[in-house]
């Protein structure tokens, strides 16, 4: 895999096609589970595992699975890995298992995973598919942790379960607070993203123009 391709996959997953703030996918667990940072990290790691392995298997089977039954086939593969995650978390992390509740098995129908299987893994090589799964998962986890941080600090006055102060705004622990936090972070992320893209384009365009007209003096250009 070329360095450029790797860089594009990484940037897509983390920023350009961030599943939470750019593609607006996986909204249900994002809103429901983002009350505590530990829940966000747990959910994020589970999604990374499922994304990476389901992308790998689907990529390996991309020439075998007929087009007409690709969705049921993808769902079966994804469901297998979600079940593995479910059993593992139930055995080794029972507290996290009860915190995540029904949202852990619901990863099967998470749009991020099926979306990446359909749009990337089924038409790319396994190595690229693995990295796409990894960086999409990391992008999702980062977005989720950001949501959780805001809601836990403001809603419960704690971070990672450690009490910071007595002050808290219970509104942020409720559903309405989740929507408000999501909307504000969505807005902030896209404003910053657009500003960075604009600045980069300006810089690239400026460099290109300087190079193209390097031999012409300023007076000649003005004339």
């Amino acid at each position: 895999m070329k360095k450029n391709e790797f860089k594009n996959i990484a940037l897509d997953g983390l920023a350009r096609q961030n599943p939470v703030f750019r593609l607006i996918l996986g909204t249900c667990p994002t809103l429901a589970l983002s009350t505590a940072v530990l829940n966000g990290i747990g959910m994020g790691v589970a999604v990374i595992f499922v994304l990476v392995f389901s992308n790998l298997i689907i990529s390996l089977l991309r020439s075998v699975i007929p087009d007409k039954v690709r969705i049921p086939a993808f769902i079966m593969v994804i469901a297998t890995f979600v079940t593995i995650v479910d059993m593992t978390v139930a055995k080794y992390l029972p507290d996290l298992y009860s915190s995540l509740g029904v949202y852990l098995p619901l990863i099967v129908v998470n749009c991020i995973i099926l979306g990446r299987a359909e749009s990337f893994a089924s038409s790319n090589k396994p190595v690229a598919a693995i990295f796409d799964g990894l960086f999409m998962g990391c992008g999702y986890t980062l977005a989720l942790v950001l949501m959780c941080t805001v809601r836990e600090i403001l809603g419960a006055g704690s971070f990672l379960g450690i009490k910071l102060w007595d002050f808290s705004i219970p509104f942020f622990s409720k559903s309405a607070g989740a929507f408000l936090t999501y909307g504000l972070l969505l807005c902030a992320f896209n404003v910053i993203y657009n500003a960075v893209v604009k600045a980069r384009k300006k810089k690239l365009y400026g460099d290109y123009m300087k190079e193209k007209y390097a031999d012409i003096s300023t007076e000649e250009v003005q004339a």
């Binding site: 089977l61 075998v64 699975i65 007929p66 007409k68 039954v69 049921p72 086939a73 079966m76 593969v77 469901a79 297998t80 079940t83 593995i84 059993m87 593992t88 139930a90 055995k91 029972p94 507290d95």
Partner: protein
Amino acid sequence: MFNKVSIKAIIVLVVIAVLSGVLLSVLYGVLYVSEEEKEQNALKKVYDGELTERPELNEKFSSYENKGKVTKLFRFEDALIVDAVGYGGYGGGWVECYVVIGTDGAIKKVAIVDNNNQSFVGNVTEAILSKNYGEINLYDIEMFKLSENSGSGTLDWSGIVIEYSGGSAAVGEIAFSSGASYTETAVMNAVNSAVYYIKNVYPDVKSFEEGWL
């Protein structure tokens, strides 16, 4: 009826299903969590001690009117945990609690372990349970009951407006203050089921203490 593409599709789906099934069967043997293990994990969260015995339940006193019932007992070196379910929760639901009782009959802790349909169960915090039931000796009270000063609100007393929350309560009287009064009712019924059971099986402190020998 079936062309080559359809047959291929069926075969691929069946193979994926079979292989997934085989993989999951193998992993199930490794990752299986027994009911006993789940129970141990739940007990560890509530009380840190060595479980010595699971005493047999005296069915005669396990049901407390229609308000709750005791389902299991767990004996530790210096505590007895009563697994009790209380009815009368929100939407007709129930709450399951572990009531930790010391050898002298004092309630050390009440913890909610499960519930049905209690949307505001999160409001009933450990602090509230500790305030309502902590360190109360069940032989010093008849049963827990709702305090007349329960809840919160505003008193308009000759033009003087007073806002109150919870309210003071005598020992054994519970002042609901979480905003989830139905859930707190179910918790109180669960604790009362445990109190009813213990006081009927061990009528006084002496017999309860002797039960430890």
